[in-house]
Each structure stands twice: as C-alpha cells, then as structure tokens.
Symmetry: C2
Subunit: 200 residues, 2 copies
C-alpha cells in the first residue's frame, strides 16, 4: 500500500470483528515497524505489551470501561454536534467491548511523564499504519491511565513502568475512510504565530 | 512509495543539503498528512509552525546549538560506543547547523505536559513519512525546550503554547537506510511482563 494512502485512510476503528482471528505474525509485523520510529538518542525505551489471553483482555476491558465512563461526561455538552455524537456512539461501543478485541497492545516504558512521550508515540503511529496496510484496525486510547495500577496488576507490570496507551487491534467492521480534519491552511502558521501559509 | 518501505527507511537525517530549495508545496503536503493522524477526541490541537525566514532560522539555530551543548555531556560516558559516536558526530553537526536547514517545523499546542503528547507525536511521524516519500529528510529534536521562551520570542508564540519539537527539513546529504533497532522479540512481551512473544 502507498504510504500516502495509508496515512489518509488510517482512522480510529472502534468497532472490531471479534470473530475474526488476528495472526501472531501480523501482530509481530506491526510491532516490528513500530520499533523503526525514531527515539531520543536511539534509546528505544518502548516495550510492546501484546495481550491475547482472553481473561486478561476481559480484565483490561473492565478497567477501560470504568475509565471511559469517568471521562465521558466531559463530552456531554457537545452531544448535539453530529460528529461528536458519532464519535461518542463508537467510543461507547468500545467502552463496552475493549476486552473483546482479539488483541490489545500497550506501549510501555520507564521514564518521566512529559519527557519520553516523543519517543513513544511516533512508534505508535507506525504500528497503526502497519496495521492499516494489513487490514487491521486500531484506535489510540489513553483513558485507562486513570486506573493504571489496576492495568499493571493484570499484566504484572512493575510500578515504575508507564503504560502509555491501550490499543485494541482487529479486523474492523466499518469501512476505511478519510477522517475529517481541518484544512491544512487553518492549522499551519508561517514564520510567525498566526501568520497564514502561502496559498498553494 | 510503499508504506513499509517508508517506515523502514525513515531515519534521523541530521546533515542536510542547505543549497537545495524545498518547495512550499512539499512542506504543505507534509503538514497535510501530519494532520491526518488521530488526536484525542479528534481535538486536533496541533498548530504547525513552519519557519522559512533566514533570520528566524538563524535565531532558532542559535538557541538549538546552546541547548544541544547543554545536553551533550550526558553522552560523554558512551562516546566509545561506535553507534553513539556516529550519532554524536551528526548531532554535533546539527548543533552547529540547525539554522541552515531550509525549513524548520515546530508542532505547537496548548495543553498540559504529559497529557497532550499522544495527540502531537503520531502526527509528527506522519510528517516524517510524508517527507521520506518526497525525498525530504527530518529529525526529531526536543532539546530546545530548555530555552523554550527564547524560541517563543523569535516566533511570537504566546506563553501558554508549547513547542513540542524542532524539526529541520531538507534534502539529506546522506543516503536513506534502515536504522539500527533491537530485534522485535527483545522488545515485545506477550500477555505478561517480560514473557517473550511466540517464535514466528
């Protein structure tokens, strides 16, 4: 798949086909490409925690659901916006079904908040793009961090290791499509803050 | 370009051909694909600050060089390692020449450290991959944050806006090649912390 097509059509896939198996080989391909992203001083701090065991997935799903329900009221005032309503419907679905994802991946590392994220999330994007090319849907979620200790307990992760995201992986039930984004000229400044870019 | 090839061959390009112009159109293509990455609740918090003005680039380069020389002693004990020595040689080059890069891009946003990075760096990786497909080299640097106020002053960026990275962009003088990374089985755990993945 062309790299521009992969970037254009990788969107949050929160509804997964829970009956369709994901191969270990495809998961390892995703992680292999995730490791190719840059990290500060090539420190490669990320450990990719792959969860396939059904009981552990169910336990993670329960924690995720509790956290999602804690966060959800933040969106209450925007439920009238059609795009937000659509997002909430699929996020609610994920809140109930995270544990049913065939695979859950958590990028983990030691290191202080606010200092190592730049070495974590570029690799996460590679993970997503590799998944896209293999036909596998993903979504970036971070709300489990409200109850990160419970997640650590499920997976025997030491207290000094952070779990930066909880990523469900599986074949999506929806279609791939371009996510809605603001036009580039609205989010790009040129030489000075708020100075627009040249018209292309 | 195939997405897997792009991910395999996107490595830190710290030596740029400063005589070869980069088109505005290519810069806007890079930013366009950067905007396609996921952000929390599709909040799209990033503003992409593109710096082409030579005086502003020189000023940013001076700040960057000071910050790099602050950080560099951290690597002193590892200068004997060949890979570290090679990295330091090119990082020293960048320390002296950041301001000569034809373009410098800074992803900016409001939002607390440790909370919005997951909405910033996936887009940065897309920026890099789009650059790769266009033949443009990039490097992720964050050391300018030791003197972030000076960077804000150069670019008239408000005090409540963070500048997450300083990314030089240009045609590289070196060749594209696969970066050295640990084997996937060394950085992947399966179901439980430190439990290795199945052999592929």
């Amino acid at each position: 798949m062309d790299v521009f097509e992969a970037m254009s059509t990788t969107r949050a896939m929160r509804r997964l086909d829970t009956s369709k198996e994901v191969s270990d080989a495809d998961v390892l391909t995703m992680v292999t490409y995730a490791t190719k992203a840059a990290t500060g001083g090539n420190s490669q701090p990320v450990r990719w925690m792959v969860v396939r065991d059904p009981d552990k997935r169910a336990a993670l799903g329960a924690v995720y659901g509790e956290c999602w329900r804690m966060v959800r009221p933040m969106y209450a005032s925007r439920e009238d916006e059609p795009a937000v309503a659509r997002m909430l419907a699929s996020a609610d679905h994920l809140g109930d079904h995270m544990g049913d994802a065939p695979v859950i991946i958590l990028p983990c590392s030691k290191g202080q908040e606010g200092q190592v994220e730049s070495s974590i999330f570029p690799g996460v994007q590679n993970l997503f793009l590799a998944g896209r090319a293999l036909g596998l849907g993903t979504t970036l979620t971070t709300v489990h961090r409200f109850k990160e200790d419970e997640v650590r307990t499920v997976l025997d992760i030491p207290a000094d290791v952070n779990t930066w995201a909880m990523i469900p992986v599986g074949y999506p039930t929806g279609r791939w499509g371009e996510p809605k984004r603001r036009p580039v000229e609205d989010v790009t400044y040129w030489d000075t803050w708020k100075n627009p870019p040249p018209t292309a």
